[in-house]
Symmetry: C2
Amino acid sequence: MQVNFAERADNHNWKLDPIVRSLLDTDFYKLLMLQFIWKNFPQVHVTSEIVNRTKSVKLADQVSVGALVDQMEHVRGLKFRRSELVWLAGNTFYGTRSIFEPGFLDWLEHDFKLSEYEVSEQDGELLIRFSGLWCEVMMWEVYALSLVNEMRTRSALGQLSELELDVLYARAKTRLWDKIELLRAVPAVRVSDFGTRRRHSFLWQEYTVKAMQVSLGPSFTGTSNTFLAYKHDLEAIGTNAHELPMALAALADTDEELRAAQYRVLELWQKSYGGSLLILLPDTFGTTQFLTGAPDWVADWTGQRIDSKDPFVAGDEYIAWLMKRGRDPRKKLLIASDGLDVAEILRLHAYFTGRIRFSAGWGTLLTNDFRDCHPRNETVLDPISLVCKLMTVNGRPAVKLSDNPRKATGPSEEIARYRRVFGSELQERAVVV
Amino acid sequence: MQVNFAERADNHNWKLDPIVRSLLDTDFYKLLMLQFIWKNFPQVHVTSEIVNRTKSVKLADQVSVGALVDQMEHVRGLKFRRSELVWLAGNTFYGTRSIFEPGFLDWLEHDFKLSEYEVSEQDGELLIRFSGLWCEVMMWEVYALSLVNEMRTRSALGQLSELELDVLYARAKTRLWDKIELLRAVPAVRVSDFGTRRRHSFLWQEYTVKAMQVSLGPSFTGTSNTFLAYKHDLEAIGTNAHELPMALAALADTDEELRAAQYRVLELWQKSYGGSLLILLPDTFGTTQFLTGAPDWVADWTGQRIDSKDPFVAGDEYIAWLMKRGRDPRKKLLIASDGLDVAEILRLHAYFTGRIRFSAGWGTLLTNDFRDCHPRNETVLDPISLVCKLMTVNGRPAVKLSDNPRKATGPSEEIARYRRVFGSELQERAVVV
């Protein structure tokens, strides 16, 4: 039996076991949006904060402020590596080369940094706030969410014996493989990994992604995690998120500018990106008003991502809208990404087959489904709903309405104003009734 | 990243990956019986052979003669290690110290060897035959069965990718833990590992045993595997097997001696062993005739192991017999060991609670339950029914009737003679009707 003395000694020398080890370990859309912000809004100042929507879980019970700050400082000390930048410059994303401009890559290499932040504890909850230039704050979202989630995981794993850990992962793997077998039975289904921010851990996300890569063939279309795409030659998936219309809306000076902000984002976006990157995310202030009021060129975009509306309803609505605007839905793409699991993915695939191209962005229940896997039947490893909210933009409050009233964010008087401007007051009432 | 150059090179230097690595890697009752044979029948000559009762599986498709011979030669080259012999001498078995005599341990150390054997292939089956002194042949049984089973396992594993192997073991572990959780819910249940000969592999048996050791507390009473008992400070479990009455019956010169042989074994046994080692195995020539014809002192033995009769029926029969003989069944032990799984273990425990002490010897479905675990849904890892039969004793045929007609072994004319002598012809007819 060989003993590697140097390795054993080194294992005792670790100061920190870093969670995020590369700045590419983030959602690909963050990089697309970062270039967009760097180009169009380099001087905008924002604040954002982490919000735990799962009130039954008190984060500070599982995650210590000091340990979190150590992990955050580690991320802040990272630089984009030379080979990572070369890959961003030379790789083909969505069939297009040179999506990232040389000037942006040069800025990433030399000038990019993560903003200041505050972490504190209050009534058992963690307060995690970021403030600074938008292009210094926005990248924190995925890093911070991954950190907090994996620190929760580590805290729970620390209570388990070696054998219990083995049981835990055997159960989670068995669950994962049962899911993959269901997907394999439907070769036309299309699924990608959207689970970075809610993952159990980096290594578990990598395991789930490799499992799909090896066993699903063309049904697995890629991962939102840029580092995993880079490491495993996968397609990097993702386009844009709510923070863009939220910020542009906050910057609007009049109600008219506010209403127009959601389309102004698209105008600017299509100056930088084309093809498959032209994916609408219409629910920031309500999907129905967005589609109804959209200029005709919006119907030329490649597809739509559904994030907060019932995806069957939202898909039907999008198809009807496309037909009314004289576009062929069968050439468009519909992406669902809100709390999906295999059964719903397969139902949606069957429902939309032949009507529109459907693709599922599989998140939490791909990379963090440890429900009922705990060897002592505890719930400490169940995923929680943790988000990072844009709070202010140049000092003004940021608002999201979304199609799900429970997902609305912002000061209540601002939410009321937005609902009035976007005409979604009535819709909300309809939903509640 | 540290590279252990010596270890990597050494991993490429292996000539053989041995399956059986210690002569203690056998059922404990083999050692008890070996001492019994060494003492009482040192000159008896026997032959035995491996029989595959699962006709749908052709062993030679999965196990090559050459590779099997390499493994068998490895076992034949093993010696009892000093520390193993010290443990056999100094350890307490079933509460008794010095169960093994110094003379026997001295013989084990210096003179014990495994007999000659033949391995060949015929119509896709393996022919594996042993011949020599009984005390040189009898130890082959468990080594050879373990070898063939693990070589089948290796052959099946060789068809799987790394990820598929991971799925396979995740599923098997999940299954094992589901079983253990069911046992944990009934703290009074008593279970031991009887799965050496039918195991998936040595390491998997060790995993299942450690899993029970860690999680079942006093419900897990020990293992039949002597090496695992030695390595993990467990109780070594087991007493005796059919080969003893079979051999003594074969040596009988008259029908009267034949009928008496099954009790003659017990007389000799209790000269060497006492207490918990006095466990009847009454089914060799039919349980009912055994109990009916037994001398009264047989009812003083500590318990009974049921191997081929419905354990509910056999337990009831034993309890009624004990009461008729004026013994308190609640002080006796009932051990079931034939094809058990958790559901039946729990049913038997419930059925006998308060009436007799019940303990389950859990075999194949503990150490080799990979049914439905194969990642491509193949059945190559399903366990098969492989046994080692005593064929002749000093040139005379060996016979077993058992309570299950399908388990009868021996030439058909001899089986008929034994049935006549033991009066179990009528019983057989009753079973068939």
